[in-house]
Amino acid sequence: MNATTSSVTRKAAREPVIFEISKPGREAPTQFPPLARGPDAGAPALPAHLRRQARPAMPSVSELQAVRHFTRLSQLNFSIDTHFYPLGSCTMKYNPKACNSLAMLPEFLNRHPLAPASASQGFLACMFELQEMLREITGMHGVSLTPMAGAQGEFAGVAMIRAYHRARGDEGRNEIIVPEAAHGTNPATAAMCGCVVREIPCDSNGDVDIEALRAAAGPKTAGIMLTNPSTLGVFERKIVTVEKIVHAAGGLLYYDGANLNAILGKVRPGDMGFDVIHMNLHKTFSTPHGGGGPGSGAVGVGERLLPYLPIPVVGRDGERYRWLDERDRPKSIGRLSAFMGNAGVNMRAYIYMRMLGRDGMVRVAEFAALNANYMMRRLTAEGFDAAYGMRRASHEFIITLKRQHRQYNISAMDVAKRLLDYGMHAPTTYFPLLVPECLLIEPTETEAKEDLDRFCDAMSEILREMAETPEMVSKAPHTMPVRRLDDVRAAKLLDLVWKPAAARAGE
């Protein structure tokens, strides 16, 4: 493996900001619509006080310049299509090309969201079947596809829990119990729903501290938010006890689907006693992450929460599909998006699920677990410490660099940056927060053994560098388009929009 420090080997030079290659008067006129002429052509003039007076300073480039600029920008990215991307908790698996090309059939692309159901039976059939498949794999009673991302799915889930308690006249339940290892969206969601968060610790084996849970659960408990496997990368073995305690206290159980990939077809959240779940279709069902979205955060519910599902939902009357809205679901927590959520993302998930099929679902969990456990064993053999090495890894696992940090003053961030030089995207760093200097590694089931081996070899090489050439690690990356960026400066001297050089100089 050869990752040199020389700056001349950087993969690509800096690409100018598009405003720097703009030139007044340059256009891509083929893209402009014709303007009608003649006496009937004119639209009524806009009132002067509502008109724009000066043209906005937008880019002014040819079609080729735009194509080249954005193609070059794309080449500055790591992506699943180009690099191993073991970003823990994000499930960066292969996004099959057919999911994209079939979701982009012109009839689907041009379907207006407010088109009547009579002109939408093909689309609605796909969405109905997607709801049904998600219901089946989660063991829930009903599914709504409308939340636009995991965080919005979480919001829907907690809002439904609150609506349920309110409808029973149980107004005092405003506490959400969250394990301290939870993803940051969990407490943020609880706050958005007007709830108070009660954090409980985990025991040294990574399971929920049952005594702490018993102490926290009570008449104020609205519910508990859990991922299982947890963010620590291990299955919550006491889930049955957790379920009994929370339900006995009158609370409901919320399943954060962040880690659904680990248990797909193996165990269903509904069978574990969960009342509500959100799924990240962009993780488990492989829709594109698109540089940070769009996602889709479909929610599933058990019987008790069925009336509260966010609208719209696709229903079926005989052979016809139609939207169910507030007229059918008067107790719904309402709408979360103007139309029906990220329909195109849901379409891609539908296509993916049909290609996996019944048997493919369970294989996802099996091979995700095989890859994660294999890497955990290999890395511990190379001299790294697994945070929960005494446990089976789920679809991901945590390496803690606490020992290396003490010994070589090399941080998890340094190792993450050095991995980029080896042509691999870094794992998630510093999450979960309670494991010091951690890397959360999720290979996913679509990676071949050779790629896992390459990653483990690189890690082993980096460990050697820590002892022999520590600057190679502490100053990494060396081969990216930029060196390490000054985040403090970015936050202090906020430069968030382009200004012409003259304006910059005057600042």
């Binding site: 724009r52 088109a115 093909g122 193996k266 103007a338 139309f339 679902m361 000054d486 985040d487 906020l494």
Partner: protein, 466 residues
């Protein structure tokens, strides 16, 4: 095995390294009584040939009707380079740019996007996008509560001329946080919000006033007066705008009368879909949000900044992350985690290709086509214009009978004739919201006119015979 590369030999070697005999042993920590049986509700796997056939058949069922519906989602020409580049794997299959050095493409693109949206809206800063226009309004309301420190009421005024679906979404999202949305009526003649309905709030504690321009009826609001009213009453002004219209309309950053110094809107948000994103049944789109620099720390969502690297060269990174959930957890500005990176990529390419001149042409062509449509349809007996206010590219028509049955009849002829407004505005019993964009030509408009004349004529002939 679909999408799983393991050979039997790989599996054997890996199991040996782990020290187990079978893959199922890896799941031994799951209590046995919880293990699932076969997923009989999931059909068996399809090959790519089979799924392609299924999806083409499903697509054919929906066909390609001639569309005149707007109502918050607009059919526009999308230049070929837009999605050819946006679906490149390097953009399509990357994630949130946490590792800035390996994500400069996405980061620089978002910085360019922020620059363009700030410029279009006439505001100082933009975030990296939110989910959609409706949820962006909800976030804008929550942001206004944080930003307007002089207001304690958490009361936000929302005219009924704001997209009613946006209002529903905003209610679902802000309702749990003690924020009240008070609706204001509109003027039945002009289709503008009723200025008098504001008077009862003059001098009271109002957190913000929302103004949509063009409004849901396609009518232009008197944004200057409304902005000045808000500021005179220490309320923030939230502008909801169609970004494409801003090629021709006064940017919200300059709203407000000259007498009060064109103070401008405080928070601007809206639906980015008209900028190169296909209709696609309602998503994925993207919501945008821009504001004044003084409120940047109250803004939700990701923000990209330009900075320097260790060698002093410029580069891009996520910044102001201290506002966000992964740092602040329960005290974050929002629980939002992702933006809508892929659709923002498309929009940034779209805006770059069109430039100011192209956007202006598209906006002007939309205005022309909708004026042409209005003329063609109101020439039919029983069809009238409902509102007198100036318009952008949508218009409300009054029919001589309920719109629903007319629309069904048009749909049978392959025409989506507009949106029946009676569901959201019961007082507008036979009103139809129609839109024509630059994608419609003379023949399309003639076809709609002819079909509508037939539908209305046939129906009245029937009534006469009975």
């Amino acid at each position: 095995m679909p999408f799983i590369p393991h050979t039997p030999q790989d599996i054997a070697e890996m199991l040996q390294v782990i020290g187990v005999r079978s893959v199922s042993e890896l799941f031994e920590e799951i209590p046995a009584e919880l293990l699932a049986g076969p997923l009989t509700g999931v059909p068996l796997a399809l090959s790519e040939i089979e799924i392609s056939r299924l999806m083409s058949d499903r697509a054919a069922i929906d066909g390609r009707p001639l569309n005149f519906i707007g109502g918050g989602a607009y059919e526009h020409h999308i230049p070929a380079p837009v999605w050819a580049i946006a679906t490149r794997g390097e953009f399509y299959s990357a994630y949130t740019p946490y590792q800035a050095e390996a994500s400069q493409g996405t980061l620089q693109l978002i910085y360019e996007y922020q620059s363009m949206l700030s410029e279009l809206t006439g505001m100082e800063v933009s975030n990296a996008s939110l989910y959609d226009g409706a949820s962006a309004l909800a976030e804008a309301c929550l942001m206004a509560v944080r930003a307007n420190r002089s207001s304690l009421s958490r009361r936000i005024l929302v005219p009924r001329t704001v997209n009613p679906l946006y209002l529903q979404v905003a209610r679902s999202i802000v309702g749990n946080q003690g924020v009240t949305l008070v609706t204001l009526d509109y003027d039945r003649a002009s289709g503008r919000m009723l200025a008098e309905s504001l008077q009862q709030f003059t001098g009271q504690d109002v957190t913000a006033l929302v103004v949509q321009q063009p409004n849901f009826f396609g009518v232009l609001e008197e944004v200057d007066e409304l902005t000045d009213w808000a500021h005179a009453n220490k309320a923030l002004l939230i502008g909801v705008v169609n970004p494409l219209s801003l090629a021709l309309l006064k940017p919200p950053g300059l709203w407000g009368g000259p007498a009060s110094g064109n103070q401008g809107a405080d928070i601007v948000c809206g639906e980015g879909q008209p900028l190169g994103v296909p209709l696609a049944s309602g998503g994925p789109y993207f919501g945008f949000m821009t504001t004044r620099m003084q409120y940047v720390r109250q803004m939700p969502g990701r923000i990209v900044g330009r900075t320097l690297d260790a060698e002093g060269r410029p580069g891009f990174t996520l910044t102001l992350q201290a506002r966000e959930q992964h740092i602040r957890r329960g005290k974050a500005t929002s629980n939002i985690c992702t933006n809508q990176g892929l659709t923002v990529t498309a929009a940034t390419i779209y805006m770059s290709l069109m430039g100011a001149a192209g956007l202006e042409r598209v906006a002007a062509a939309c205005m022309q086509r909708s004026a042409q449509l209005l003329k063609a349809l109101t020439a039919i007996r029983g069809v009238k214009t409902t509102f007198t206010g100036p318009r952008f590219h949508e218009v409300v028509l009054s029919l001589d009978r309920p719109a629903a049955a007319v629309l069904e009849e048009l749909a049978r002829r392959g025409i989506l004739g507009g949106l029946d407004l009676s569901q959201h505005y019961p007082e507008l019993k036979s009103a139809l919201l129609v839109c024509a964009t630059e994608t419609k030509n003379d023949a399309d408009i003639a076809r709609y006119g002819q079909a509508l004349a037939e539908v209305l004529g046939a129906a009245s002939a029937k009534a006469g015979a009975a």
